[in-house]
Amino acid sequence: MEAFLPVGFLLIFAVLLCIGLFTVKRLLGPRNPLASKLSVYECGVATPEGSARAPFKTSFYLIAVLFLLFDVEAAFFFPWALVYKESLVQGPGLLIAMLVYMGLLVLGLVYIFRKDCLKLN
């Protein structure tokens, strides 16, 4: 835990940098707001059509869900990778354990590709 103390310094410096950037922006930049300057940026049309806050398709959600599940699975590889080297003297137990684990993960991947869930093709 002591090792993380310098991260605190870094945090402070980062905050200082952010505050500095913010004040520089505030102090140096001129301001003369106009109605058209402050309106939504649109390309080709004078007035923006509809709100930007309209629902999307769910395919982004599918990407995020897959990321979540695979991230959790990948996170379990890390403790395994850490102790694998030392466990080698005790035979292939850990290797087999991880191959089983990874086999199930690969099954999931195969399912995704088969069903073309991400609409990749």
Binding site: F9, L10, L21, V24, K25
Partner: protein, 354 residues
């Protein structure tokens, strides 16, 4: 911990952090001149000798420009957006090793902000926070282009985080350590007498995966879909003013430097010079601090090399399409990452059994 320790650590942190921030102006000129070189034109060469003061002019221009906060934005998150990107980019620097030790008042201090024993996990974890700035900034802008750019950018970043994690995982597997410093220690010496004992020779596939994913993570050109200026104007920072754009830019370059630093530490021997061991060098130089300076120089040279590669690739390769990008991540890189993990594990098993 004594007071001197704390002060020296603070100064060390400040120096390393400022060094990382310096990457931004340097890269500003390098990138513009590099682009010019590749497109066979002079590039910015008016301000100062060889245009070297161009970044200064650019920064002054950014500062003096008008600040507009569009009417439709959610103000708090809009203002916070750029800093939410810059913050993780700054924190990630902590785990990068720049050298072995330097000595002040007969005491050794590691040339690293914090010697974290879960270094790789730390970088992956904090690095993954950068997408919140993009998401919230894009959403708070309340603009179709921004939101679209933010969604695209974040789905790209999260998709490529998995191959990145898998590649890092096989490096961890090979070294048996999370700690980047320990990884670098293992890479000293030579391999079979001719090659430097660097990670890339043990993990070529892992390095390739990491390299590709690093481009995607930092939103650099073959994968700069969030910014596709032809389709999305400027992506998630469409509604942002010059200084906020500068902040996003800064975060991007710092992320690039961190990714390069991570690659150097994991695959390119960190601070080690090829073929020469640290003990020999210490004998030649005779001073610990001189050696530390040389090590820092070595890391800086290696990082600069990768930064140049980033620029080089940017002006060489065309941009991917969104579905190609996703296919590359899910169809090719993730299975390759798993295969790499299995190959590494099996090789290690047979090496250990023999």
């Amino acid at each position: 911990m004594e007071w001197t320790d704390i002060i020296i650590t603070a100064i060390k942190t400040a120096v390393i952090y400022l060094g990382m921030v310096q990457v931004v102006p340097i890269m500003l000129i390098v990138e513009r001149r590099g682009a010019a070189l590749m497109q066979d034109r002079p590039g910015p060469n008016r301000v100062g000798p060889f245009g070297l003061f161009q970044p200064v002019a650019d920064v002054i221009k950014m500062m003096m420009k008008e600040v507009t906060i569009p009417r439709q934005v959610n103000k708090a998150l809009y203002l916070l957006g750029p800093f939410l990107v810059l913050f993780p980019a700054s924190l990630v620097v902590a785990a990068l090793p720049f050298g072995d030790f330097f000595t002040v008042f007969e005491k050794n201090y590691p040339l690293q902000v914090a010697n974290i024993d879960v270094g790789v996990l730390y970088i992956l974890a904090i690095g993954s926070l950068g997408i919140y700035g993009i998401l919230f900034g894009g959403w708070a802008s309340n603009n179709k282009f921004s939101l679209m750019g933010a969604m695209r950018s974040s789905s790209q970043i999260i998709s490529y985080e998995i191959p990145l994690g898998l590649a890092a995982c096989s490096a961890v597997l090979w070294y048996g350590h999370f700690n980047l410093r320990e990884m670098v220690y293992t890479q000293e010496g030579t391999l079979m007498g001719v090659l430097p004992n660097w990670g890339i020779f043990y993990q070529p596939l892992g390095f390739l995966l990491f390299f590709i994913s690093a481009f995607a993570e930092t939103n650099r050109l073959p994968f700069d879909l969030p910014e596709t200026e032809a389709e999305l104007v400027a992506g998630f920072h469409t509604e942002y003013g010059p200084m906020d754009f500068g902040t996003f830019f800064m975060a991007e370059y710092m992320n690039m430097a961190t990714m390069s630093g991570l690659m150097v530490a994991m695959y390119f021997g960190g601070w080690h010079l090829p073929w020469i061991s640290d003990a020999t060098l210490l004998q030649w130089l005779g001073s610990r601090n001189l050696l530390a300076a040389l090590q820092v120089l070595s890391v800086v040279v290696k990082i600069s090399f990768f930064m140049l590669v980033f620029v080089w690739v940017r002006w060489t390769l065309p941009r991917f399409r969104f579905d190609q990008l996703m296919r590359l991540a899910w169809r090719n890189l993730i299975p390759l990452g798993l295969i790499n993990l299995v190959i590494t594990a099996v090789i290690m098993y047979f090496r250990g059994a023999a």
